[in-house]
């Protein structure tokens, strides 16, 4: 970790062959370039992961402004860690581990609730943006809004770790080992978290049918 290295502006021949030999993923390769001082590679990493990280955090804290602020912290942390970065785990796993820590700390510190109240207008605005569909009738939009609110409430009611596991599984499509890496637990613990989380979601959302209307 702490070994000092020369800082070329791009990968050296030796590094390139090592990278190829190890079959390192593209992200890890970019991160190694960032370590060597290549800012353009950081920009590329940002382009690849900005969306997934912000979206994950948005669903965790349910507030777009807060999610973007937390995502900034995540990428800043990635940038700060460039000098000591070692591609020992998959980059996405490492990135989501940082994002999950950030979100769980935010929720644990109770800033979550405060932010929720003071930014109610923005949440309302976000919801409206999400459900508004010009081709639908007002009634359809209202139904969509009710459905969205129920889904948000059901996710919000989950314990923080279960919530993180479901969001990574459902929306980020991470596999069990990646989720385990991000949550720093075993794969069987992830399966257990997911089983319990989906159990709660099934109980809360069972009354919604596939078209988004409530069953009578």
């Amino acid at each position: 970790m702490g070994e000092t290295q020369p800082q070329p502006s791009s990968l050296t021949g030796v590094q390139e062959s090592v990278t190829a030999a190890l079959g390192l993923e593209r992200d890890a390769e970019l991160m190694l370039r960032v370590r060597d001082g290549c800012t353009a590679s950081f920009q590329l990493l940002l382009e690849r992961h900005r969306g997934p990280v912000v979206h994950f955090l948005y669903r965790m804290v349910q507030n777009q402004a807060v999610a973007e602020e937390l995502a900034q912290d995540v990428f800043l942390r990635v940038y700060r860690s460039r000098a000591t970065y070692e591609p020992s785990a998959k980059f996405t796993t490492w990135l989501f581990r940082i994002a999950t820590h950030r979100a769980l700390n935010f929720i644990r510190d109770g800033r979550h609730e405060k932010g929720h109240q003071s930014l109610d207008d923005e949440i309302g605005d976000g919801m409206a943006r999400q459900v508004e569909d010009k081709s639908s009738t007002v009634e359809q939009n209202m139904l969509k809004e009710v459905r969205l609110q129920e889904v948000r409430n059901a996710i919000e009611a989950l314990p923080a770790k279960q919530k993180a596991a479901v969001l990574m599984h459902k929306y980020q499509e991470l596999d069990y080992s990646q989720i385990a890496g991000a949550l720093e637990c075993s794969e069987s613990a992830v399966k257990s978290l997911l089983f319990r989380a989906y159990e709660s979601l099934r109980a809360r959302l069972a009354h919604l049918d596939a078209t988004g209307t409530k069953e009578s």
Binding site: R50, Q72, A83, Y171, Y198, L201
Partner: protein, 176 residues
């Protein structure tokens, strides 16, 4: 588990009438993967055969698929156009800070000026460790004053489980 072994394993499990739903949460991935349509096609056949005779798995799959679809309603919002600009500005501000410049030199520079600090840091860690060892009970008392809600929740749930299983041993279980 490697894929061919996994296939053999589930084949055997299902033939022996071991339902993945009843055989513990470690097998729940087969149900979840089936419901989000990512299960290996070879395993899909095996599982669907099992579902023909297992109403519990059938019911689970139906409700899980409905939840899976319902969750699609929670779409994410687009990221603000100035996200990168703000981040880069923060990075630039940090890079200008003298402390950060010193840290960068220590971690990435070729001079390794941090090396002499290692014994000092190790001695500090030792001193703190010794201090904590000698003041253990007091430290624990300070920590005792802060309770974590999730810790309390888990402890109470576990105690309720143990109560049902080992203390009262009632005929019926309450839902946890």
């Amino acid at each position: 588990m490697a894929e061919p072994n996994r296939k053999q394993y589930y084949n055997r499990q299902f033939q022996m009438n071991h339902c993945p739903l009843a055989s513990g949460e470690e097998n729940v991935d087969i149900l979840l993967d089936y419901c989000n349509r990512t299960l290996d096609p070879a395993l899909v056949d095996i599982f669907e055969k099992h579902m023909e005779v297992c109403s519990a798995c059938r019911a689970f799959s139906e409700s899980q698929m409905a939840v899976w679809d319902a969750l699609d309603a929670f779409e994410a919002l687009p990221v603000s156009p100035d996200f990168d600009h703000k981040l880069m500005a923060r990075i630039a501000r940090e890079e200008e800070s003298p402390w950060r410049r010193m840290w960068n030199k220590m971690t990435a520079g070729g001079t390794a000026i941090w090396r002499p600090l290692v014994p000092v840091a190790a001695a500090l860690v030792l001193a703190v460790g010794l201090w904590m060892r000698n003041s253990g009970p007091e430290a624990a008392t300070v920590a005792d004053s802060q309770l974590d809600a999730e810790q309390v929740e888990t402890a109470l749930q576990d105690m309720e489980m143990l109560r049902q299983l080992t203390i009262n041993e009632p005929a019926t279980q309450q839902k946890m």
